[in-house]
Each structure stands twice: as structure tokens, then as C-alpha cells.
Symmetry: C2
Subunit: 243 residues, 2 copies
């Protein structure tokens, strides 16, 4: 019997809101479960039990059917997000199925685990979590993942992304960039208020934080070949899910 994948939501077509494929038209498959508990997690429903009854075990084929039902011939790119999708070995079947159909695939993970199917991902965003998350980075594992992908000639298919909330996170970002100088590096503004319901207030906050981060990066001689980005989906749709 085909293995199943714990799926929390499938939606799109929409655009990717962040990181190396910002703006890309894509479908989203969000898996359940995370090995982290970040203080400011904007997808806590994937692991805190609050959306437990929405998790459905689905085969790769069933996920494809649902993607096709929603997107028809109007997509060529799928983003697999979480939680941490790299916990799930069974995603290999979905990855191979999508490749067979000529679909490009992006994945985001905090870099705490490795899966062989990462070799097939077109855009791997590794997003180690800064001190404000309350989590510790396993740099040995991060080295391992970066080296495996680089050794396989996948350097152009990966990037590092660090979310920055404060000065301590900013120092952490510099440390990560220093450790992996050749890997495309993204700094992202943290969304400090995942409960703010007023979109205009949230936007103003986020853009003020982006301005702060741009200024910090502009003043630093350790962060030159980097990109600074907001989350477009938060600017557009605030803290809503499934858009």
C-alpha cells in the first residue's frame, strides 16, 4: 500500500510570499508536524494540536488529484511547506510524482533533518532559527545538509534564510552568512504579531521593521551579497490562513 503523508492544507494557485522564489506562482501543500516550537511560529497550528482534526493522511496520488482539482492547467510549481516537511520520508513519492509531471518544487525547512528527496527539489530554502525563536541551531546538521546539496551540484538550488526580529538575531544572521559565504543568503523581517487582525496596522508594523532591517544591512560590511525581503503574503493578507 502507498505510504501516506499528513496533510494540513492544500491551496492555490497563489504566489510564494517569501525567500528565493518570492512572487512565484505556486500551489501550496502544507504538511503537519514540526520538531521545533518557535516562540513566534506563524504556523503553530501545524504542530500545537489546534488543527488536529484537519490533518488528513493522503497518498501522493491523492495529493496530486487535489492539486489538479484546485489548479487544473493553471500551475507548474508546487511549494511544500510545514511545519517541517523534511520530517516526512514519505514525501519522496510526491516529489517524484510531481517531477514526472514536469512540476517545479520548492521546500522550506529549518535545517534540522535530512532526506534523500531533497536532491530533487528545485528550490530548497534552509531557514535556521535565530535566538528569538527560543530554539538552538544544530550547526553540525546544517553543515551536513549544505555539504550534501553542494557536493551533488545543487548549490544553485538552495538558499539560506534567516528571520530577524532584533539585534541578537541580526548577529546570528551574520554568523550564518559567515559560515556559508557562498550560499545565497536572505534576511527576512519577522512578523512579531501573528494575532494582529487589522491588516493595515500589521502592514505598517512590517514595513517599519523592513526599513529598520534594510538600514542595519546597509550599515554592515559583513552582509553585502545578501537580499532583504518582507513576507508578501503577510503584507497582502495579514495573518489569514490558506491564501
Amino acid at each position: 500500500m502507498a505510504k501516506t503523508i499528513p496533510v494540513l492544507e492544500i491551496f492555490g494557485p497563489t504566489i510564494q510570499g517569501e525567500g528565493m522564489v518570492i512572487g512565484q506562482k505556486t500551489m501550496f501543500v502544507r504538511t503537519a508536524g514540526c520538531d521545533y516550537r518557535c516562540r513566534w511560529c506563524d504556523s503553530a497550528f501545524t504542530w500545537d494540536g489546534s488543527a488536529k482534526e484537519e490533518i488528513r493522511p493522503m497518498t501522493a496520488e491523492q495529493i496530486w488529484e487535489r492539486l489538479y482539482e484546485l489548479g487544473g492547467d493553471r500551475f507548474s510549481h508546487v511549494t511544500i511547506s510545514g511545519g517541517n516537511p523534511v520530517l516526512i520520508q514519505a514525501l519522496e513519492e510526491l516529489v517524484l510524482l510531481l517531477k514526472n509531471k514536469g512540476i517545479r518544487i520548492a521546500v522550506e525547512t529549518q535545517g534540522s533533518r535530512w532526506q534523500e528527496w531533497l536532491y530533487h527539489i528545485d528550490e530548497v530554502t534552509i531557514s535556521p532559527k535565530p535566538p528569538s525563536s527560543g530554539m538552538d541551531t544544530d550547526f553540525a546538521m546544517l553543515d551536513h545538509i549544505v555539504k550534501k546539496l553542494a557536493d551533488a551540484g545543487r548549490a544553485s538550488h538552495m538558499s539560506l534564510k534567516v528571520v530577524v526580529f532584533d539585534d541578537i538575531d541580526f548577529d546570528y544572521a551574520k554568523r550564518v552568512h559567515r559560515r556559508y559565504p557562498g550560499i545565497p543568503f536572505y534576511l527576512q523581517v519577522g512578523n512579531a504579531d501573528t494575532t494582529e487582525a487589522d491588516d493595515a496596522t500589521l502592514r505598517t508594523q512590517l514595513l517599519a521593521r523592513l526599513e529598520w532591517l534594510v538600514e542595519k544591512v546597509a550599515q554592515s560590511n559583513e552582509l553585502n551579497d545578501v537580499r532583504v525581503l518582507p513576507q508578501l503574503h503577510t503584507l497582502l493578507w495579514g495573518n489569514k490562513r490558506g491564501v
Copy 2:
């Protein structure tokens, strides 16, 4: 004697606000002069005479000195923008000087002219202007530029970007993407109000337009492998110059 380049402004470090290098930390060199007169040009001061007294003829070496004075060791990327910088043959000297210093270079042009120095540009954004601009696209010239870069193995160093204000522009964008299916394709929200002084009002307008454009792209089966982006600098700094 070294040839001079008509320069309107040099500023940075800041971030690139749009297109294929959105978010990239960069310095800006803005040249004067354009062969177009787009109805909604957001850089009309480069060609309408209003900033005539600010144009300075500078050698490549003088431009470098000014970049270094502003940016010191805090940059590794320079964006040459206009106006249409591709009008200016003398930019070759600046391009070669920057390459020698290990600086990456981005250029944006509407695709109405060719220069040999385009071969050395790391990120060429070709932005043909849609009907709302009031300009006509010279598709033969566009073919020529795209072919020259592709034949030289520079396909991964270029992208097409179309600004969309309305449904007619959207059809034009589809036409451009259909003509060059293999070239990375960006759709950008037009800023319909380059005189709005209230940043909050402008942001709300721009994000509403972005949402409209995302929805149009989501519904289209002709625009799948594309990216939809706003102008970050307009979201951040409104219609101000030199940021």
C-alpha cells in the same frame, strides 16, 4: 581623455526594490536620458528637463570614487538604472571597472537598444512597456537583444518584466511571455499615482493592485511559470527619490 557618462544620482547602500534581484543589497547609479516618454514614468526627471541642472558628466573612475565614498566596503553589487542606460555606450568603461573590482552589476532597460557591454551584466532586466505607457514595442529589437544574450550563454543572466496597470496590459504581458517562453518572466504592479505624497494611501493602493494582479495570474493558464511582485521601495518610501 576618458569618456563621460551623464549621471543624475548615485546613492546607497540600499536594496533593489523590484524584479529578478528584488531585495538585493545594492548601490544605484542613475543615468540621465530616455528614448521613451512613458505616460506613467516614475523617473520622468531623468528626461523631462526638470532635473537638468543635476546631471553631471562623470568618468567611470569618478563614479567609482563616489560609490566608494558612499558605500566603502559595505557593497558588492551595483544597479545601473535610468532613464535608459542602454543608450550610453560609454557605460562600458564603468561596467569593466566594476567587474575588475569584483562587483556584480544589474541593469534595467526597456529593450529598445543594444550595447555590447550587456554581455558583462549579471542581471539584465528587459522591461518592454505595455500599451498603457503610450509607447510601441519594437519586437524585432527585443528579439535581437534576447537572442544575442541567449546565444552568448547569458540566458540565466536576464529576465523579462512587464508592468501591468489594466486588462489590456495584462494581455500584452501574456503576449510577451508567449513570445519568450524560456526567459524568466516577472509581472509588476504599476504605480498609477507617482505624485501621491501620503505613503499609507499609496501602500494601500499598491497592495490592492497587487492582490488584483495575483488573482488575474492565478486564473490564467498562460501565465504559470511567472513571478508577480510589487515595488518594495515604493511600499517602503513612497514616491521619494534617492532611497
